[in-house]
Amino acid sequence: MEIFLFSLFNGLLYGMMLFLLASGLTLIFSMMGVLNFAHASFFMLGAYFAYTISTLVGFIPALIVAPILVGVIGALVEKYGLRPVHKFGHVAELLFTFGLAFLIEEVVQLIWGRVAMDYQIPAFLKFTAFSWQGLDYQAYRVFMLLVSVGIFVALYWVLTRTRVGLIIQAALSHSAMTGALGHNVERVFMVTFGFGCALAGVAGVIGGNVLGTEPAMALQLGPIVFVVIVIGGLGSLGGALVASIFIGVLDFMANSYDLSFAPFFSLLGISADMGGTWTDLASLSSANIAPVLPYLLLVLMLIFRPRGLFGTRDV
Amino acid sequence: MSAILALNNVRKNFGATEIIVGVDLEIHNGERHAIIGPNGAGKSTLFNLISGRYPVTSGTITLRGEDIHNHTPFEINRRGLGRSFQVTNIFPNMSVFENIRIGVLWDLGCKYAFWRFVARDKAVQERTESILEKIGMSARRDVPAGLLSYADQRALEIGITLGSDPDLIILDEPTAGMSHSETDQAVSMIKEVSQDKTLVVVEHDMGVVFGLADRISVLVYGQIIATDVPDKIRSNKAVQEAYLGAVEE
């Protein structure tokens, strides 16, 4: 039971971080129809900036400055990079963000090197917050959870209670009409893109020291974020939340409860002593298949229900 | 006269909005039939239902007695129905010749063949050439379709439709946006290519309609309010009201 709750807690944590990423991506996609391939790259930038700033100044300044920096870069990318490509169509926009992801990874490697950075959890949060049923819950992780939930609540409040939020909600589902009503759609786009990237940056700041800060982090996390928003449903923030937590918890559960698939394969007549690939198949367990699971779900969802669980529009 | 196309109580809703509100229509084999009506009446929607672009909400559409409603566009086309589009829908990067040829390929059995040269297929070449002649574009056969003038593109639009040699030709506002002389050319071309076929046309230009059609149906707010020969339609009170006197000679 303790394992269950512990996995649940960590899964929730991972899921909330995924949600920070997914929410930014959803906002950008819903508003502009662009699937930002480079979204996880802004996550990576957030982590690296946070590392440098926290090494030079401190963690709290990093938490404030890094996301802003990332957001500004995002806004500039939108204005000078994405907007000119818009006239060539969605495929061109997708290719642009793909190239951008590649570029950011190379730049990061060139500036900070290929080795993982020693981005530490801040000392003042490095203690056990509480112990429950024999398992220690780290203070930093509680902090991560609080920050993510706090941002989610703030996002929800802004979207449903403020004028800006209502405009964004309108643009989320009917962007052409919103433009026709006289709002400066171009500026809204730029701000949205920047803000979405800033959200990714925050995720990088708080997650970089836990997940590891290295050039490959964008490539590892990026596709998972796509999985999340496709399963949740494009255009749906609620769906992104549900799917993020689902994927996060699934990942930790699969690893903790290392369920063996041997019984399933023995039904097919495959047993572990058959050698070669059959051995590999028979010895599959939920733990070693955990990396594959999200993609399997992605493919299945795209084949059978492209609009996802709660989606309002097709991809 | 047998009916080649029959619509029976066809309805189409988009969400809560009813666009087609119970249409009954019979197109006779070999006739030239025009559908007219004020803007927003649902004429293009009707064509889209017939050609398979949209599924019907209820009702039936039959082609030679066989159901075609809710079929895919290619299934319907293979049964002998060809349609053109109000907003020009050509292949802009291909030459005029190639545009027409694409329309020809399936009907002449080329299907997905990837083991022979398309240029060596005599039947394909001949039919493409003859359509090219009929629409008067032989001189511009190698011009990329995107570079053509508007009137030429409209002619090409019809040319592609003719590719599959359909028995039932449906043209959606073929002369839209054309000048007088261009319209006259287009009309004589349409008359010629539809000689042994059945033709259904949507048009706004009343001169074209009254010069071309054997029978006219009037569609207003998703319903057919009259179907008759041109003279009777001209003098029909309901029709005149619907058009607010916009009927011109």
């Binding site: 699937l35 000119p84 060539f88 061109a92 997708l94 290719l95 793909f98 190239g99 590649f102 570029l103 190379e106 060139l110 500036i111 596709p223 796509f226 999985v227 050698g275 070669g276 690939t277 051995t279 590999d280 599959l284 298949i289 594959v292 993609y295 992605l298 493919v299 795209l302 492209p306 991809v315 | 895919t72 566009p73 290619f74 086309n77 293979r78 060809g82 349609r83 589009f85 829908n89 050509i90 292949f91 802009p92 990067n93 291909m94 694409i102 329309g103 390929l105 009907d107 997905y112 063949a113 990837f114 022979r116 040269f117 398309v118 240029a119 011009v143 570079l147 003038s149 592609i160 599959s164």
Partner: protein, 421 residues
Amino acid sequence: MMGNAQKVVPWLVLALLLVFLPVWFNSSFALTILSRIGIMIIFAIAYNMLLGQGGMLSFGHAVYFGMSGYFTVHFIGGMQDAATPYFPISLLPILGGLIGLILGILIGYVSTRRAGTTFAMISLGFGEMFTALTLVLVAFFNGEEGIQADRWVGPEPLGITFGPDIQVYYLIAIWTFIAVAAMFILTKTPFGRVSNAVRDNPERAEFVGYNTQRVRWLAFALSSFFAGLAGALYAVNYEHIGFETVSAATSGLVLFMVYIGGVRNFLGPIIGAVLITVLDSVLSDFSEAWFLYLGVIFIITVMFAPEGLAGLIFMHEPIWKAKPALLRALFVPYLMALGATLVACVGLIGLFELFYHVSQDLVVPDEMNLFGIVTDTASVLPWIVYAVIAGVGLFLCREAYPRTKMVWDDVISETRAALVQ
């Protein structure tokens, strides 16, 4: 008529190049590059069957390339252990192609039911799935190490063992010729034309009787066949296969090649494959930042030249055909624009390399070799020099580009007038 001769000449040129290039460039380094170019040409044209010809953007096409490679390596290994029957090495690409084909049929069936961005994401999903599987199914993939094989196996007809690299090169050359010819012929078939039509206007294609999903599925399957063919040659050439051959990195590389080369033209992927393979082999020794420059070139292509290099070249085709004399008017503006760009590049790359060299605060000497000049990065001088060069170059570009555009606009409108009489 000139028609028939004109059609045969390019193929003669290709054949001559394939046969004689290793004779003219006879170092083993050159041979390695040439072999790689051949493989990449096949892979790139195969990928363009999807992207340029069929309008489908895939981020996971390396799956067919890599899986065929794995299969081929296993097969060769099996031949040595006498576990699999003998099959001539020279014909292995056919088997590799079949592996690609089978995978392409299966995966293509589900992928091609959707189009556009959804299709791209499904391809990414499958690509990531296979990449993840390489670390899970260890017996088949052997994880990060990959699998070795020795191609020197079986009887030796005419003394050909495929042991020496030169023999493998000519094997690759022959298959390159066959594959390029086959894929070119495909574009001239009914399928090829309809595939283009589905790319340009899928809706209209449906209304003239074509099931567009079937067309795309077939394109996907055929493309996977040739990708598999390339993968088998890769395995024979390098005698090793690793997980990177199914990964997003390889899928991304072929995408870069094809897009920069030009998707709209049959020559585009060839140009891209040759250019990027050569640059990769040559430049990666000189600069660690080569991949960064590649990324910049890709982005510039997406933003300013979406038709790629081939597109830029063939943009001039109507002029050449209608009024070739006009080409002379473009000569000087092009020269000036090119010169300005070159100056700007030297400056910017110089600055960048200096910066990169300095940012690596490992035990690295201050001196570096930049553009063949021994440069002291600690002194201010080189920074100033390159900054000035960059500034001058950018200024010249600002002057030259609009002028070139103006001349181009004039030339093209004169050509249009001559064309659409």
